[in-house]
Point group: C2
Amino acid sequence: MPSASILYFGDTARVPYGTKSARTVTRFSLQIADYLISRDVNAIVVACNTASAYSLDRLRNGLDVPVFGVVEPGARAAAGVTKRGVVGVIGTRGTISSGAYQQAILSIDPEIKVVAAPCPLFVPLVEEGLLDDDVTFEIANRYLEPLILQGVDTLVLGCTHYPMLKSIISRIMGDDVILIDSADETSMEVREYVESKTGVTGTETGSVRFEVSDSPTQFTDVGRIFLNEELENVTRVTLEEGD
Amino acid sequence: MPSASILYFGDTARVPYGTKSARTVTRFSLQIADYLISRDVNAIVVACNTASAYSLDRLRNGLDVPVFGVVEPGARAAAGVTKRGVVGVIGTRGTISSGAYQQAILSIDPEIKVVAAPCPLFVPLVEEGLLDDDVTFEIANRYLEPLILQGVDTLVLGCTHYPMLKSIISRIMGDDVILIDSADETSMEVREYVESKTGVTGTETGSVRFEVSDSPTQFTDVGRIFLNEELENVTRVTLEEGD
């Protein structure tokens, strides 16, 4: 979407969200949404799986702009491709215990068997850059073994960080298991919306700005792992009082 | 100190601190100190190593009550027991990069060689309860090997969570290396202060209250790993606006 201007807000002062309660994650999410609205955004993508799982309804009810979550697109893609009807979902403790993916998949096809498993050490392992490491493999093996035993044929990577572990996850699950990246699915859905709304598919150059609640330096360090490039335009913004 | 009343505040909505910047940790610490002062405490113990390392001076300058950190007591104990004069310090990225332990030890004895190493995966591993696990052993081995090669004879466990890994750390470092638990040293210092101040060493029963910024349930789950008992009197408190 080269014509779209994107304002990314990362709550780096308060991450991770995946270990926090529904109430706290929803409080933070509403605060961030208010901030984005004050910056005149036309739509909001809740790109964090835990925030999508816990807070999407509250955000949609409270806001006048369209709000996209990552759970529905991921669930839809998984329900669409599963062959034997056994879908695995991995995510943070918060995402899994919310039951959001499980519900979303069953509401599309109640015949699908959903097997969900939290993988709480994946986020710190990715942030430490241990993407292709024996320790990560050993931990992943423990988390994924029950999913293999249950005959999962499709696996939703239900957390921002997990696609970074695709190669290890795929080695453990086997080539036959289809991995669904919720971020990819969501991006396509958002693009469809923006293009249908504006009629613009074009080549004009939009802008990308990154704003974070903690130090830009630490954010660009982690950003490099994810995007394989140097992030520019990163500034610090404080949402709460007391600075 | 059975006569003392203790108000514990845990910022569980915004932990971990060990990966955050000096500015953010100091902002959170000042906010919490203000809250504790509003609750009429007579002294404050900054029981988090990262907050002690980054924010102790700011807290001491800003407050009218005595403020105890964990860095100085740990540094003093290490400088007191080292035989060959080679002290290791392990902690979060924040604690190590602040240089606080290194400075505190050198200000006691500039002849001591200090070898510091961040161990960023220890906190998530402890919170997952992997206290005696092959994966934790393998990670600890990587972190500690350089300290062994440098001939460390005393090792400061400079993070709240690390004493939970004492048995693994001790197995790797060898029986000859003395492990210093900053929390133990700090407790003794605080007890001396309280007893000298109040003259009370007695047996009256003080109270213990736990307050946390996220769900009490999650806090009691982790508290059980640390204290081997059920925490009671845990309530939720929100410091920031926007609730």
